[in-house]
Amino acid sequence: MSKDKSSRQVPADQGSNQVNHNQTRTAASQTRGMGGRGRGRGPYGHPVGPMVKPENLGKTLVRIGSYLKQDIPHLIMVVITILVNTACTLAGPLVIGSTIDRYIITGDFYGLVWASITLIAIYGVNSLSTYVQGSLMASISQKTVTRMRKDLFTKYQTLSLKFFDNHTHGELMSRLTNDIDTVSMVLSFGLTQFISGLITIIGTIVLMLAKSLILTLIVLAIVPLMILITRLITKHTGKLFIEQQKTLGELNGKIEETISGQRVVKLFCREEQVIHEFEESNQLLKKTALKAQVLSRIMGPTMNMLNNLGFAFVAGIGGLLALKGTTGTVTIGTISVFLNYSRQFTRPINELANQFNMVLSAAAGAERVFQVLDHDPEPADAPDAIDIREKGVKGYVEFDNVSFAYDDENLVLKDFSLKVKPGQTVALVGPTGAGKTTVINLLTRFYDVKEGSICIDGVDIRRIKRNSLRSSLGIVLQDTYLFNASVRENIRYGRLTATDEEVEQAAKTANAHGFITRLPQGYDTILTDDGGNLSHGQRQLLAIARAVLADPAILILDEATSSVDTRTEVYIQKAMLNLMKGRTSFVIAHRLSTIRDADLIAVINDGRLIEKGTHKELLSKKGFYYNLYQSQFVRTQQIQEENTETEAAL
């Protein structure tokens, strides 16, 4: 080692003399996260704190892998680019180091020229491989999650109604939003970082070992320390994050509830009280969030310190070794390389831990998606199932000894038998929870009977293709669901091939034309928030228009109990009458006029058909219907009497 002053070398920290593209990418992904894709992350931009571990990691990963199958050629290319990329990243500093030692110090101008060209080439390849790798991965990951989303959506379409009744929408939405999103994040960033991190670590260790065993050991000694501290911190932060998440959830729940009920809060003068409750949660969140945040953010400076520690030890001990100069194994150049690598080495280790967590939570998310995908769909049509529409549906409906339970215990329908002739109107009457809606659910095969059978035109509906069955039924539900589309599109839902004229004709039949034309953009008015800009009655008219367009052989109407103003109600009744003309109709009826005009009244109580007949027949029977009628409609009766009196008086 020369002690000549002029050749003093300062092996400064070259640790970051290459742009640390992984960090940059993380910054990019963060910015992206903040650009609105913050889902699947904690409220403070951290990856979600509480770790949800997948139940069967191996199996889930294999299954995610199966989604990547068609991209194997691309994936191989990605791995190649990662290898090239990492090689460049590792080669850069080596070339710089040797350039300094061999050309600059020796004054070899042509050497310097060549070295510079080599470096430019290395960096060029480095950038190119980064780009290729990023683009490939973007396309692979996006295509994969698109496939997953499609599978999920298609699956939802095939699941039975029971599934949807047992899960909240929020829960099912979260499969699409949170779970698939996490998978996408991991695929686009996590996977490549994971691989390149692993290669970098191995490559660095090999290169370091080739230079100096002792310094390698010093650098490696930092690692267990790092892992230990990381573990220590994450162990606590994990708990704290769960707590923070919980408190935040509670607070947000409270906010949501209060603001949604703000009008009631005002009416009951409860402002002080809700502020008090809010403040309790708010302050609690402040406390837990502070703990969780400070502890998790301390990781940064601590890791930085450990890096500096490694830096200092390499410099100091390397210096001492160089001084001893025993074998000349440690030169100043070597120290320089080690300083460089020690940084390149510790960073991926931190990242690996991070990525591993991400992979775990993505796997957990994917697992939840797969659970849905594995759920049993609606049972397939029987092999000999027929298309009922081929022969034309007459509309003869027979319930034969039907029993049904939503769960395994409580029968909600017991030995229900009913014959309906084509064109008849049946009013289903009975107290809430008697089983009226269940009858409808069975007829539409939203659910299948437990015992007995339902036949249409003499064919058991389980032997009718489900699609042909439902296409022959027109259903007007009590809660009209409207899509975020124009009025026209919403009506057209009844028959997708309908022309604009047919849509308008249907609207006219349904008495909806009038109010639609008064909407700001008429038929092209876009309905938002599930038709929030329409009244209940108007929504029902649209539903009727839909059914008119569908022109079904059998009609199912769930008469709305909810308030509809009188004029609209008249419209609805007329529209319903128009619709029922010539069709077998089942009406869950609430209005006296509907019930009275029905060809057949089926009185259901406690899951049983207890009486049936016409209005007159049932009244003369003086049974359940009579009593129901007395209690519910007797006043109307009185009014009618008065009415005749008044009319007479007039």
Partner: protein, 583 residues
């Protein structure tokens, strides 16, 4: 955004300390290469083991001091940011509590909730980042610039090209990328929206056998998202690799120019290496700074949305009293007589009036029914009684006092109003009933619930009055919720009771029972009923028929049958004879 900064004021000490701690950390960080240079230049060069050892210890010390700075920054910036977030959330929440109904109408519920949750979290992130990363990166950048100029001003000229290139490059990609990411976001919304519609409308989709149609719709949206997301991903990696290239080429340039300088003896080799090192730091922090800046734009959107809440003026206020006003003199509702005196009202000053010249008197204890089509102004009319809105013209007088002369608290505490949509809160059934009267005991609750015909089903729930309602009372049927809402209003023992179509989901028999129970209640109160079924209102002392915001008839059932054609129409249509209807 500046207006929100005052919420940082309580934490000024932390706001001040955070950057100082950061300066400490960065300064210590920047010292490491210097000490290293000393070890090599002086220690090794002179063969001074003690010197090397001393410097090693010093470096360890520096590392620790740096960490203290770092932790200090973490702590102070977290305290400031979280405190800031907590305080703003609190301020916004309290502000919303002062909102009148028309304030609430202006913002939408869901938008208010997002503002209180997501937007504030977003803002809090920006503050944390400002106090940490936003300081660290520029400091590191500046410090490094100072260092390299000290090493070689002429070599530093490389920065004149590299820095603008980096900034322009970064800005270019942000400019290109942001609209793209916004597009990605809207495509995501589209995909989510279709999914949500299919979940909520699952019965409809199945009933109309629209599987293929829906799948196609989803496919279009899904693939649209895929294409744009891939595009965004590609752009991002192009940006990354180009920025990398710029920085790396700058390094080569320095190596080249510096190498020549070293060869000509005008620069020391050690300084060249240090230079390269600092250069990398500068470029890194530049990229970081630009990226962090972009998160400000999002923070600004959130800040504006929160400010809208905070600066919204509640448009109803308690009457202004002279300072010496005796609180005991505050008027109270005593009997419950309500007089509308030529009231005209519209929801917005420029809007069409929904109520026109409304005048009538409801005597104490009377039952007044209001009838009319949707949009005829029924709800608006009763909303004026508890002063949910103020009319533009005319007065509403309760017990001889203009409603604007009551304090809102005094006015509303004696008015029980049951809204069209029944809203219950989490907690037990009893908790919910106690909204009407926090002191009410079980007996009183049972009494109110019995009148509202709710006692029966309550006792059938697992824990009776202690049954916990999940949020919003979702495990109750619509009719049950309505009956609880009525009980909640009754427990107030109001002088004036307003039922705004609040038995719509209750079957007729039960509705009748409720009406009878109300009638036979010992402490009778003035009652306003809005109902759709004419049978529900026939017994009222007074029926008001509204049409397009005007009273077209007022009187008893019999009187109205004779005097008011509209009433007759409604009546006939409901009783089912459809005599004089021409639809």
């Amino acid at each position: 955004m500046g207006k929100l900064l005052r919420y940082l004021k309580p934490y000024w000490l932390y706001v001040l300390l955070a950057p100082l701690f950061m300066v400490l950390e960065v300064y210590m960080d920047l010292q490491q290469p210097n000490y290293m240079a000393d070890i090599v230049d002086i220690g090794i060069a002179n063969g001074d083991i003690n010197y090397v050892f001393g410097k090693l210890l010093a470096m360890l010390g520096i590392a620790f001091i740096g960490m203290i700075g770092g932790i200090g920054n973490c702590y102070t910036s977290s305290v400031a940011a979280i405190g800031f977030g907590t305080d703003i959330r609190s301020a916004a929440f309290r502000k919303i509590q002062t909102f009148s109904f028309s304030n609430l109408d202006r913002f939408q519920t869901s938008s208010l909730i997002t503002r209180l949750t997501n937007d504030i979290t977003q803002l809090q992130n920006v503050v944390t980042m400002s106090l940490a990363m936003m300081i660290r990166s520029p400091l590191l950048c500046l410090g490094s610039v100072v260092m390299i100029i000290r090493i070689s001003p002429s070599l530093a000229s490389v920065l004149l090209i590299a820095v603008p290139l980096t900034i322009i490059g970064t800005l270019f990609f942000i400019k290109k990328g942001f609209p793209l990411f916004r597009k990605v976001q809207s495509k995501i919304d589209r995909v989510n929206n279709i999914m949500r519609e299919n979940l909520a409308g699952v019965r409809l989709v199945k009933a109309f056998v629209r599987k293929d149609f829906e799948e196609n719709r989803f496919k279009t949206a899904n693939e649209g998202l895929q294409d744009i997301a891939i595009k965004a991903g590609r752009l991002m990696s192009l940006g990354m690799s180009l920025l990398m290239l710029i920085t790396n080429l700058a390094t080569v340039a320095v190596l080249w120019m510096g190498g020549i300088k070293v060869q000509s003896g005008s620069l020391e080799i050690g300084n060249l290496i240090a230079f390269i090192n600092y250069l990398a730091r500068i470029m890194m922090s530049l990229i970081m700074v630009t990226f962090v800046f972009t998160s400000f734009s999002r923070g600004k959107v959130s800040a504006d949305r929160i400010l809208e809440v905070l600066t919204e003026q509640p448009d109803l206020a308690d009457p202004v009293r002279p300072p010496q006003y005796d609180a005991k003199q505050e008027p109270q509702i005593t009997r419950g007589e309500v007089v509308f005196d030529n009231v005209t009202f519209s929801y917005s000053p420029e809007g069409e009036p929904v109520l026109k010249n409304i005048s009538f008197t409801a005597h104490a204890g009377e039952t007044v029914a209001i009838l009319g089509e949707t949009g005829s102004g029924k709800t608006s009319l009763v909303s004026l009684i508890p002063r949910l809105y103020d009319p533009q013209e005319g007065r509403i007088i309760i017990d001889g006092v203009d409603v604007r002369d009551y304090t809102l608290h005094n006015l509303r505490k004696d008015i029980g109003m049951v809204l069209q949509t029944s809203l219950l809160f989490s907690g037990t059934i009893l908790d919910n009933l106690r909204w009407g009267d926090p002191e009410a005991d079980l007996e009183k609750a049972i009494e109110a619930a019995s009148i509202a015909q709710a006692h029966g089903f309550i006792t059938q729930t697992p824990d009776g009055y202690e049954t916990d309602l999940s949020q919003g009372g979702v495990n109750l049927s619509g009719g049950q919720k309505q009956r609880l809402s009525i009980a909640r209003a009754l427990i107030k023992n109001p002088k004036i009771l307003i039922l705004d179509d609040s038995t719509s989901a209750v079957d007729m028999a039960t509705e009748l029972k409720i009406q009878n129970a109300l009638k036979n209640r010992p402490n009778k109160c003035t009652t306003f009923i809005i109902a759709q079924r004419i049978s529900s209102v026939m017994d009222a002392d007074k029926i008001i028929v509204l049409h397009q915001g005007r009273i077209v008839g007022i009187g008893t059932h019999k009187e109205l049958l004779e005097s008011t054609p509209l009433y007759r129409d409604i009546y006939h249509s409901q009783i089912g004879k459809e005599l004089s209807l021409s639809v």
